[in-house]
């Protein structure tokens, strides 16, 4: 492909929210004034030291940051190659990286005077994080979740309800994450005057992909400093799973201009790339959905196709626009892992390190199992352990006992 290499991979998007041809603002007119307000509020907040100070306080004492960078000695020994470090986002309050972004957006909502918060969720982690911060700040919280996901992520549904949120099961379409997002957008169009839409990943209309990335970049910034402290240098490679791509973008972004760092994003290959899967880059092409242009799974007529992954958090037919751009300019390598590979990785990490990962980062671990043995013993590899597996214990338990597929 004939795409000019930029001077910096970190300067995007342009002022209209484009990363190359990707991104933009493809939404109904009703939402445009609010989206422009949000952009303005975010620009002002970024320049306001009080906003940063307040946020840092909550990040430290409420979320529990910094999250550790842990050397996975037994996994390293087992795979016999690269030295593997786990960035322990699963230790955050609420159990995943999602809380970093939600904290930022809820603080923005407060600045904008919005009292009603809506969110969409797949695995429920973003919903739980949103419900948690709404409880903390006394805000009304409504979470849209596909009916299929409500079934397979019961523990998180119960948590959200305990936190005082209303979970709205979505019956339309494929009844998974993409339909939850459609339904959240419908709610937003209807209640635009008092409602803040807290988007869970680096997707949606500009400025969401940017602001979510910025809030998640704390992952990569900490990793940089922590690796400097323990190994005295930059890591050699980074690996993270991709649903929409927020945990990956958070880890990757601070390293994009460090050419020595190899970067791998792992999509969900479901039953395999020739069957049902959720790998938008491997199996899709550029299109327009949910407010942005990006790689999407669709048919020849531009109709959006069903995604499938064992992991509800990766079960989305698109990917954040910045990832689409990083793919086209060749800065990040996008790989994919199947349901079965993720399940094997889930068990391996549990047994070797005593850490039960969520099914989402198990996809990243699956690719580490392939990549690490091929790297020399002084190679430093960081995997983003984006969430813990508590929510997946019932589902994986059933699969391992042969009760379901």
């Amino acid at each position: 492909m004939n795409i000019a290499k930029p001077n910096s991979y970190r300067s995007g998007p342009d002022d209209r929210g484009h990363f190359g041809i990707f991104g933009g603002r493809f939404v109904a007119e009703t939402l445009m004034p609010l989206i422009l307000d949000l952009e303005k509020a975010y620009t002002e907040a970024k320049a306001d030291p009080a906003f940063q100070t307040e946020m840092n306080g909550y990040l430290k004492n409420y979320v529990g940051r910094p999250s550790p960078l842990y050397f996975a000695e037994r996994l390293t020994e087992h795979l016999g190659g690269a030295r593997i470090y786990l960035k322990r986002e699963e230790l955050n309050h609420t159990g995943s990286h999602k809380v970093n972004n939600v904290l930022g957006q809820i603080m923005l909502a407060r600045r904008m005077g919005k009292k009603r918060i809506i969110a969409e969720t797949g695995a429920g982690q973003h919903g739980v994080a949103t419900a948690t911060l709404c409880a903390r700040f006394g805000l009304e919280c409504i979470v849209y979740m596909g009916a299929v996901d409500v079934e397979r992520q019961q523990p998180n549904v119960i948590r959200m309800e305990m936190l005082g949120a209303t979970v709205m099961p979505v019956q339309s379409g494929t009844r998974t994450l993409k339909d939850a997002m459609n339904e959240a957008l419908r709610d937003w169009v209807t209640n635009v005057h008092n409602t803040f839409y807290c988007i869970g990943t680096v997707a949606g209309p500009h400025p969401y992909p940017t602001l979510v990335r910025d809030f998640q970049s704390i992952i990569g910034n900490e990793t940089k400093a922590q690796m400097q402290e323990v190994e005295g240098r930059l890591p050699d490679s980074l690996v993270a799973c991709i649903g929409g791509g927020s945990n990956a973008m958070g880890l990757f972004h601070p390293f994009l201009d460090d050419p020595s760092v190899e970067i791998f994003g792992v999509e969900a290959a479901g039953h395999g790339l020739t069957q049902l899967h959720a790998a938008s880059i491997a199996g899709g092409r550029p299109g327009v959905l949910h407010g942005n242009r990006t790689y999407l799974l669709m048919d020849a007529d531009g109709q959006i196709q069903d995604a499938h992954s064992i992991s509800a958090g990766l079960d989305y037919p698109g990917i954040g626009p910045e990832h689409s751009w990083l793919h086209e300019v060749g800065r990040v390598n996008y790989l994919s892992a199947t349901d079965d590979e993720a399940l094997a990785a889930f068990q391996l990490l549990s047994k070797l390190e005593g850490i039960i990962p969520a099914l989402e980062p198990a996809h990243a671990i699956a690719k580490v199992m392939e990549l690490a043995p091929k790297r020399p013993r002084d190679h430093l590899m960081v995997v983003n352990l984006s969430g813990r597996g508590d929510k997946d214990v019932p589902q994986v338990g059933d699969i391992l006992r042969g009760k379901s597929k």
Partner: protein, 278 residues
């Protein structure tokens, strides 16, 4: 250049009445019945016909129109067949304006330039693309204007005076005022708020202003038509169509008539209204 839309609104203005604009989904419940329905609309009193381009993820539509799109897709509807539908309609009717309404992705995938050529030659007069605000005019709006198609923009209650000029800048044919913040088929339009909003928009443009979302009955249609240059009805017609289907969602002998009868009743409502003073 003058389009069928311009001509039609000029005629209606001369008669001193507002337009009745119908919306139905292309290919609902199947391509053949859909063509019969569309053909029946002008005879029943539709002045302008909007045809939905089915899409899997219609994020600004309510359950009725969503379901209509899925019925059409299930029956094998595509964007190409939507253009064939218009071509079929044009065989007997060269005057009634046809506006395609939908979401951008199917057009983007079809190829914008090819789509505009094919749409124009099929007899399409205008486009309403819900997810292309003025900020994305380069995508389709500007090329459509060049190709001789009207690009009709939605203005909403959140479009304030500061933003209106941007919304109106590249709009032609008519302005579509969405009378509620919300999805299709939800709330009922409030007539005094609508009349204020239409007056506000008219301070910024000479284009006709049609009002849609939340009009279901002949009475509301008359009321809205007395404040605007046109009243748009979608969900109520789609519901009438749906209620005529058999348990498996297939057309019955009643389907075409069910839509035609409601169209006629609504048209009577609109025609009973005096057009809003300029």
């Amino acid at each position: 250049m003058t389009t069928r839309i311009d001509t039609r609104f000029a005629e209606l203005a001369k008669q001193g009445r507002s337009a009745f604009v119908t919306f139905l989904m292309a290919g609902d419940p199947d391509p053949a019945t859909s063509l019969e329905i569309i053909k029946a609309l002008p005879k029943s009193g539709a002045d302008v016909i909007e045809i939905g381009m089915p899409f899997t993820d219609p994020m600004a539509d309510g359950p009725s129109i969503q379901a209509a799109g899925l019925r059409a897709l299930k029956a094998g509807m595509t964007l190409k067949k939507t253009l064939e539908l218009v071509r079929g309609f044009r065989k007997d009717d060269n005057a009634t304006p046809i506006v395609l309404m939908g979401y951008y992705n199917p057009i983007y995938i079809y190829g914008v330039d090819k789509f505009l050529v094919d749409a124009k030659s099929a007899g399409v007069d205008g486009l309403i693309i819900v997810d292309l605000p003025p900020e994305e005019d380069d995508e389709l709006c500007l090329p459509a204007m060049k190709a001789g198609l009207n690009f009709i923009r939605l203005a909403t209650p959140t479009t304030d005076d500061k933003r209106l000029p941007a919304v109106l800048a590249n709009t032609s044919g008519f302005v579509y005022y969405v009378s509620i913040t919300g999805i299709t088929g939800a709330a009922t339009a409030d007539s005094s708020a609508v009349s204020e909003a239409v007056a506000r928009i008219k301070r910024h443009t000479k284009l006709p202003v049609c009002v849609g979302f939340g009009i279901r009955t002949p009475e509301t249609a008359r009321d809205i038509a007395s404040h605007a240059n046109g009243a748009v009805v979608g969900t109520a017609l789609v519901d009438a169509l749906k209620n005529s289907l058999d348990v498996e969602g297939r057309a019955t002998g009643k389907t075409v008539n069910a839509v035609a009868e409601l169209t006629a009743a609504l048209a009577q409502g609109v025609k009973g209204a005096q057009q809003a003073a300029e």
